[in-house]
Symmetry: C2
Subunit: 211 residues, 2 copies
């Protein structure tokens, strides 16, 4: 059965919410509360979870810890992923330091840049390598996921290196589409921070109208 | 009529896609192609757009530039928003330098931190202020949106300052829930970068199974 992409996105949102609840020592949540906290409907929550079996108890709700574990299993299937960051500028460095990755089992094991002053230095435990070594280091360090944080103008010149690096997935922070010809195509997910701004400004404008 | 939050999220995704198409000088796109590029279905694209009137022509598709403008109008209603960043660490600095905000009409006009060595310095055109001045500067510089990029442990100590600052919206990068008691509640949108990693690893695992 094909699971809609929107369901996968919402599962990741439910997981985030469940983790917060766990931090706050809340043990049970109703589908109505889970829906309110994740800006969706209780029907949608139940439908999304129904793809993967039966969860929760009628009249009781979901066990926070149990549901979080189950969703983690659905999404990840593996505990640890090795991540590299291409582009050790401000965003790349911020991602390398971002605690949320490590907490969730995504280990940044290398960064890449073309600036000779950066190459050979470290951010946390991860070394910055010459970007020309990308395919080699990806192989050597068994890197699964590549986060792309280079400036827009640097992207065309990187295409060949990216295509010959055998990563399984790319998290693309560059506001440009990636058209790669990899032998076994990598999964690509675009992250656009301005998009979040758009959603937020809609929420604000909507509130202003209601007042 | 209430527009579902998921529709708003997808509109922001369509907009991102349309902007890429514009960069590539593509003038017309079918709902099928727009759906493929944004990981949804043509029916969903048509349904989402139908909330806002009639778009496109049967058998022709959507005019890229026109549709982008229309969605921008739906989402933003205003051309310019003033943004501040609380927490001038690596993520905060990266956001201040992030080109995608300025391009979309979100101007970072101030940063805030509690580190005396940072206070008074600048990132781009934006000065870093003492976080104690947050409510005043928000008022003075007519700041609409606050991006929160402080470390987890700093959040409890910031609550009062956040509550007395009259921003309209908060983009929360801290992996914790925000429970603020503001007089007129600000819209809050959580941004979790690890969530994107979860979605990506699902896409990867799914591909691996299909091979």
């Amino acid at each position: 059965m094909e699971i809609p992409f929107a369901t996968i996105e919402r599962l990741a949102t439910y997981l985030r919410c469940l983790r917060h609840l766990k931090d706050e020592k809340i043990k049970i949540i109703s589908s109505a509360d889970l829906a309110t906290n994740t800006k969706t409907s209780p029907e949608q929550v139940r439908k999304d979870l129904s793809y993967f079996g039966r969860f929760g108890k009628v009249g009781t709700g979901y066990y926070v810890g149990k549901l979080a574990k189950k969703i983690e299993k659905i999404l990840k299937k593996r505990k640890k992923w090795n991540v590299c960051i291409v582009g050790a500028g401000s965003l790349g460095s911020a991602l390398a330091r971002y605690g949320g990755f490590k907490d969730s089992g995504y280990n940044v094991v290398a960064l890449f840049d073309n600036n000779p002053e950066k190459i050979g230095t470290k951010i946390g435990d991860a070394e910055i390598y010459d970007v020309k070594l990308l395919p080699e280091i990806v192989h050597e360090k068994k890197i699964d996921i590549l986060a792309l944080t280079v400036p827009k103008h640097a992207l065309p010149g990187l295409k060949e290196l990216l295509e010959s690096s055998k990563v399984k997935g790319i998290l693309n922070f560059v506001p440009l589409s990636l058209h790669l010809k990899t032998r076994r195509k990598a999964a690509v997910l675009d992250v656009d921070l301005a998009q979040k701004m758009y959603i937020l400004s809609y929420l604000i404008s909507n509130k202003e109208e209601q007042v």
